[in-house]
Symmetry: C2
Subunit: 209 residues, 2 copies
DNA sequence: TAGATTGTTAATCGATTAACAATC
DNA sequence: TAGATTGTTAATCGATTAACAATC
């Protein structure tokens, strides 16, 4: 199984969705699925499903289809979800607290190891079993808890500084929820998620409609 | 100003980012900005900035640039953010509660009018001034509070049913946070946001790196 | 006029879709 | 063999980038 192939961003989101369908199908006792089944369940075209999979190998049997459990395992491996990942959330505001409790992360193998903040009133407290630590302890905690991923959930003005600290601490991938462009060293994987922009996509198309 | 032009999805996210930069520039007293300034601040190319704006009209002055406040106003109008939008969140779990308190929505003109749930233990309570209402009261509340947008923050199994109810209640745009494909009538604007898939994007590139 | 920057067209790049040979 | 479905190539579609005339 190859890795680090540059594939369309959208392919990763689709693979994630395929995997969820596959495990559900498997649990229902459906052992064999076709690209058409996957496509229908996930809202894409069968050609797209086959193309997405073709980046990584040959997982099916011509004339037959795919074994649902097997393909599920392959996709989880491709996505790097055959193991657990330790995640730091920076920012113990509403968004940070929320993300830390979001079960969807845990279900896919992401363990929120610690929430970091620099507000002394918050540090030392817990949010459903997750410690809030001072941002100054980031470096040691990253090592101690083997944290590799960081989620930035602080206001825009603080985002770049936090990103720099995360990188310095040894984190290798970052999701930035702050609505601002930040830059990091090129060997760090960075992704920005703009929650408000998602709603703005709706209002763009609804205005004057 | 035209509307309803089909533009690349990514353009909307970028316009959102441009607008945040522009208002900041305006507040700093920078009255004129070039596509190069905008590009640098938002991490895109100057050509991209000009192209994105060109879908909607001519907002600049050749040889000079753009007036920051003016262009800000234009973009906010394009995105439909020159007015407030009333939003319903369905699901008073961790994610729903979090999103309801997320200040980033409010700052862009999105008012969370009500959180809906069908758990009797939650109904009647408040989350920082926002009422939790029973899902059965959706239809009346949507009319009463003039709600036009819905956010689905329920488990995957319940998402389609909730979407159907939102549509029946008269909602016109939906963000689906559940990791499943749902379908709605074609005159409803639908968008799926997969928080876990965002992290999976990181792990895809980090595995074996 | 010289320098700067827009708006727009054409070229390039990349992703999706259609078609079909391979093969169960 | 006939029917079904994969894997892959070629065609299409769409988005980004480069280039430049227009114009301040």
């Amino acid at each position: 199984m190859l890795k680090k192939i540059k594939i369309p961003d959208a392919t990763i989101g689709r693979l994630s969705l395929y995997s969820r369908y596959l495990i559900e199908a498997h649990e229902k006792g459906i052992t064999t699925v076709s690209s058409q089944h996957i496509a229908k369940a996930t809202g894409v075209t069968p050609a797209q499903v086959r193309k997405d999979l073709a980046y990584f190998g040959e997982f099916g049997t011509r004339g037959v289809g795919y074994n649902s459990k097997e393909l599920y395992n392959y996709i989880m491996k491709i996505l790097g979800l055959d193991k657990h990942w330790s995640v730091a959330i920076v920012g113990a505001g509403n968004l940070g607290k929320a993300l830390s409790q979001y079960k969807g992360f845990y279900q896919r193998g992401f363990d929120i190891a610690c929430i970091f903040d620099n507000d002394p009133k918050k540090v030392g407290k817990k949010i459903s079993n997750i410690n809030i630590c001072h941002l100054d302890s980031l470096n040691e905690k990253v090592k101690e808890l083997k944290i590799t991923l960081g989620i930035i959930a602080v206001p825009a003005q603080a985002a770049q500084e936090v990103a720099d600290k995360l990188v310095k601490a040894g984190i290798r991938g970052i999701i930035n929820f702050a609505p601002i462009n930040i830059t990091v060293d090129e060997n760090i994987i960075l992704r920005r998620v703009d929650l408000s922009a998602q709603l703005e996509y709706l209002t763009y198309y609804l205005e004057d409609a």
